[in-house]
Symmetry: C2
Subunit: 723 residues, 2 copies
């Protein structure tokens, strides 16, 4: 098995939603869904853009898909050689994880087509496609290349006032409905053959057609270059896009490809996780790292990563806690500048978090649950549609999932501890931590007649149980956030004036002692036989099996959570919650505690989210049971290889890639199998290699030093590498 | 129109559930549903007992129905002359509100039957029925009288180990499943004719049959006496029941009827509300007062009244806030010993309230939302069944409707202020108020960084909006409760030691100053253009019409409330909430404030509860708009005349009589039309008589003095009456 390649044979339009994710090419600026060049909207094509959003009417706000600048459509003797329109004799699709190359090869009978496509990792605005045609009959060929506007939108349309410009570089420009942002797509093409050229423009886009008579055995190649710019990138996005296309055309496909591959090689050098002993596992790890790296915002210093990456508009293209808890670890340990970008996004969107807290009657920073540009809350009050009544259901993710602020503070503190880089705290990070702590202070439920404080009416990671009190995970994260705020004083002990000025500027004088007091008075979770109760009253809920709960469904697409859902009134949980807490705070729990809780909660966990398995797997390793982690690891790492994962929550489509699983796979290998932990500013290992693996090795960068970690069944080593 | 009589012509088994309520006879100890004597369970017969509950398996706990001791079944020439089995030529049913007499008259063809039935108001264990038969053909008659065990149970069965004893007084005894309480039903009969007597006993009961040959024109009469006792009443309930039957048989029907009618006359003397000018209104008022008086617990000093009276097992036979807020006013002003019984029930069930508070992690007294004997919470966590999935839905009435404790404190304080009787406070009432205040202290959400306190995650009177924060009604009721606790010090100023001892006994030293502090720091409700926001965020909810919301229903039986219900996410409310607050605290709001809020909330109110219209009607009078009150008054007063009201909430049957409306009718007339208020310990009037009425008069008893109130369009008078 080539552990860098995923190949699929055959074509079924039913698989298009999933295949578009599995064979995605992306470069952080944009994601090109893995569909054939000739795909119209029925096959869910998209050039999904990072960080640009639009709302159409009162529908959900979501990211904008650009016009498809790599559209290619071949006709032969007047018939379209198009998947989905014509049954192929054979078809293969492939994604090359090492170099981010989509390939397809299709025999249509009279013609065969093969292509290679990239979203350039060397130049984030550039797309390129080399398209080769082989003829097995004589006949009249028409090759259309151009910019298709027949793209997939979930809650669109988002682009209006289209302008078309034909010429050597085609140009389609449009503006978004809400913020009037110009989106420009240009295309140039270079052919190794001649023909009669014509241009056409209609509702579906702008196209150039080359016609010629071909003979059996002829092989023709066209290289197509696409460029995408928006007015957020460039004052003249259209001109600039055209120039980039023309420049690429001049360089040629091979040159563009080489630069792209070199960029990928550099990425792998910094982060490649090698698994030896199980090829499927090794490939799954490559897939995970490929997907997560391909959507990292390398072109910007202040973007984060949506929960479904750049695979489409699912989950509104929004930033969730996935960024800080699931994507962050791989990046902070291997490419800290990307971790920094994720956190700078939060620093820059602090105003949105302050606004959200005020909106709910609180102080400090309450970050958006589904954060779009500027920290705007993208999460609606009605985030699920009931399958029986087809009515939107009031959900509380937006209102009650308060751990998000603590998750961000947690990542900020981790960033400082792993990189040793204090600048991010100076440049807004400290302010974020202080405002998050202030939010919790104002959100605390103080008992007037006792010393204790509750955090009532929250939702923890397990979203199936809405509006609970004293969620153990949330309370732990809150306490950590409060401590982190207080800890800043030591961190800035050498700049006491700067820190005092910051406190003054934030009017923090009265809050500081209150936070000190609150810190020690958050109600401790109840335990029963060592099991920490997930929230007040959880143990009183019906204790039944996952199968029993599943059997109560009346519709397979039903949402399990809330008061109407089958799980909401039972002990069945969606995903790791107490165990997520234990995974994130290894120093706070003994192995014995972790083991007891693991064995209680795992059978009660649906793993209905891609955020679940990795937490269980990491902790399984910690308790010395890597064999329990293996299946969870494979499930996590393989999710975008097999195309697993839920597609529906109620009537809402939730398909896409799974960056949290991708990051989770790295977490399991690094934090679980290798047992990587920071101790007094230095990395250390507690290896628990599963029997399926012989060896595990990967680089990390800590405190500006790069180390190579190697783990075998005889132990682990941390070796400093030369720069 | 005879304003004391309700008569219905015709028989339709479909109407049986409603007619059983409309023609109910009751005497506080038991209620006999208004169904014909021969009814089997298909027609929903029940002898519903007060204050005795049972749970069968894991079904809902509900009151126990006794065996039907007034069963009478006539056959002629081998054919059963039974409604529901045989189509009658004519049928009339009648209830005499003045004297609590059920009458029926049925022509079956060969025979006609007429009867009168009472649940004796003079002897609460006694039932009596005089049954007359007229023959229009010769033939063989068989008259069965006996004790039927074929009774209606919603969540039964509740009676087991039946014992049957034939003889001059038949006896059926059984014990309840859960608490092994003996329930005994006896019957004796006296006939004015001879026949061949035989006894039979089977699954459906114990029966005596008299057979004889009759001739056209013959008229025969049987008087049947039933007696019900339980082991809660008497150590030998069976013997005692038999003795009571035999005694009644000796006295004869007319004597029993006379004592019963005299007792009713005495009741009317103390409370009759006379409306002049509109006969339908006058009858509706008689109906309301009849129904409420007939279920008053005159036989006991420590019982309250279930929300559906004694009309069946609906709402688990439980005591709701209806008792203190809706039944209490008529009783406290006309028959204070009954008001005292309602409150003694709460005093005696304080241990249950203390237990419930502890169960939820609070201190003090959190009264049951659906209180059964001993204050046990009858409300389940799943109080609605979803009509689409047929699954129980998690509801929060039990957990979150915290105003109940304040409602009880409110009635205790009103009782003291209206009767001037302090003994009830001494004998436990003060303790209840103090424990309720303590509950609110522990339930308060103190903001650690401000001086304010919230009451978060509650349900107000408008149950469609679950789990809201700072419900205006609830917060107002809480503040009143806290003030009432503090006020006790003045009330007992002449017994300071006694009061100090009480505080000591309750370990109240630390709580007292905290309650003083909390009292002034409850967050005030937001207002917009003078409209008080029902709860935090209510104004942000969708503001659409009642019709628009109703149009979203996919099933007529759908529950409107909660996150899945059509109303829960809109400003449409189930019942008076802000307006209920204004109705209950007239001194705290100006007429202008009341008017503004009335006109905002009324169009947004479904009036989906019988607790709603009266609050709007009382306040409409206060703002000088009695014409707005009239329709609401008629709807309220007429509900058990017409048999209106909802029959279903989700898949749960909620039919029955509507004591809260019955009490509400009195409230509208007394507190609205007459504008009765207490001022400095004396009654005063603020009349607002609607144009439909010429005159209104009624007696009240205040501070042991009896007054006659008279209101006409030229004003009102309060005249002291001689004792």
């Amino acid at each position: 098995m080539d552990t860098w390649i995923l190949r699929k044979t055959g074509f079924d339009p039913q698989d298009a939603p999933t295949d578009g994710n599995r064979f995605l090419c992306a470069n952080g600026y944009m994601g090109v869904r893995g569909v054939p060049e000739e795909a119209g909207s029925a096959l869910f094509p998209a050039v999904n853009l990072a960080g640009i959003y639009d709302q159409y009417q009162d529908r959900w706000r979501e990211p904008v898909n650009a016009p498809n600048a790599l559209f290619i459509q071949l006709s032969f003797n007047g018939q379209r050689m198009a998947l989905g329109k014509r049954e192929p004799l054979s078809h293969e699709t492939e994604i090359d994880y090492r170099h981010g190359i989509y390939r397809r090869e299709t025999e249509f009978g009279p013609v065969s087509v093969r292509s290679e496509r990239i979203a350039s990792m060397a130049e984030c605005h550039l797309l390129a496609d080399r398209y080769q045609i082989r003829f097995t009959q004589d006949g009249e060929m028409a090759l259309q290349t151009g910019i298709s506007t027949d793209i997939w939108d979930i809650n669109g349309p988002h682009l209006f006032d289209f302008q078309f410009e034909a010429g050597e570089a085609l140009l389609v420009q449009a503006i978004t409905g809400q913020k009037k942002i110009t989106v420009a797509a240009a295309q140039s093409a270079v052919c190794d053959f001649d023909g009669t050229e014509s241009f056409a423009q209609d509702d579906s886009g702008l196209f150039r057609t080359l016609r010629r008579y071909v003979k059996k055995g002829d092989t023709l190649t066209v290289s197509v270059f696409g460029a995408i710019y928006t007015s957020l990138d460039d004052p003249e996005p259209g001109r600039t896009a055209q120039m980039l296309c023309m420049e690429a055309k001049k360089k040629g496909f091979d040159t563009c490809l080489r630069a792209h591959k070199d960029a990928w090689e550099q990425i792998w050098e910094r982060c490649e996780m090698r698994l030896e002993g199980d090829e499927a596992a090794a490939r799954a790890m490559h897939a995970s790292q490929y997907h997560l790296n391909s959507i990292a915002p390398r072109h910007a210093g202040n973007l984060s990563i949506p929960a479904r990456g750049l695979s489409g508009q699912t989950y509104k293209g929004a930033i969730f806690w996935d960024s800080e808890i699931f994507f962050f670890p791989m990046f902070v340990y291997t490419q800290p500048e990307i971790a920094r970008s994720l956190l700078r996004y939060r620093i820059e969107t602090l105003p949105g978090a302050l606004k959200k807290a005020r909106e709910y009657g609180f102080r400090g920073a309450y970050y958006a649950w589904e954060s779009q540009e500027g920290g705007e809350e993208g999460c609606t009050n009605f985030n699920v549609v009931d399958v029986f009544t087809h009515r939107p259901v009031r959900t509380y993710f937006r209102d009650k999932q308060i751990h998000i602020s603590g998750d961000i503070a947690y990542a900020l503190r981790s960033y400082y501890e792993i990189t040793g880089d204090r600048r991010l705290l100076e440049e807004g990070g400290a302010r974020v931590i202080l405002e998050c702590a202030r939010f919790y202070l104002s959100r605390a439920n103080g008992h007037l007649d006792t010393e204790e404080a509750d955090f009532a009416d929250v939702i923890g990671p397990d979203e199936y149980h809405e509006r609970v009190t004293n969620n153990a995970f949330t309370n732990h994260m809150i306490r950590h956030c409060l401590e982190s705020a207080l800890r800043l004083k030591q961190i800035f002990a050498d700049q006491p004036e700067w820190f005092e000025d910051l406190l003054k500027e934030l009017h923090y004088e009265k809050d500081w002692p209150l936070i000190q007091a609150l810190c020690g008075h958050i109600r401790a979770p109840k335990t029963r036989d060592g099991v920490i109760e997930q929230f007040d009253g959880y143990f009183d809920l019906e204790d039944c099996s996952l199968d029993a709960v599943r059997a109560r469904l009346r519709d397979p697409r039903e949402y399990w959570g809330g008061d109407h859902g089958v799980a909401g009134t039972t002990q069945i949980i969606k995903q790791a919650d107490v165990i997520a807490m234990m995974a994130l705070f290894p120093g706070d729990f003994t192995d014995q505690q972790t083991a007891v809780n693991w064995h209680y909660y795992e059978p009660r966990t649906e793993h209905g989210s891609s955020l679940s398995a990795c937490m269980y797997a990491v902790t399984a390793c910690r308790i010395g049971r890597p064999e329990l982690a293996w299946e969870l690891f494979m499930k996590t790492a393989d999710i975008d290889v097999t195309g697993g994962g839920k597609l529906w929550a109620g009537e809402i489509y939730i398909g896409g890639t799974h960056p949290a699983s991708n990051g989770g796979a790295w977490m399991i290998a690094a934090l679980g199998f290798a047992g990587l932990q920071m101790k007094n500013g230095r990395p250390e290992l507690h290896p628990n290699l599963p029997k399926e693996l012989q060896r595990l090795s990967f680089p990390i960068t800590v405190n500006d030093e790069t180390y190579l970690i190697e783990v075998t069944h005889s132990g682990g080593t941390i070796r400093r590498m030369k720069c």
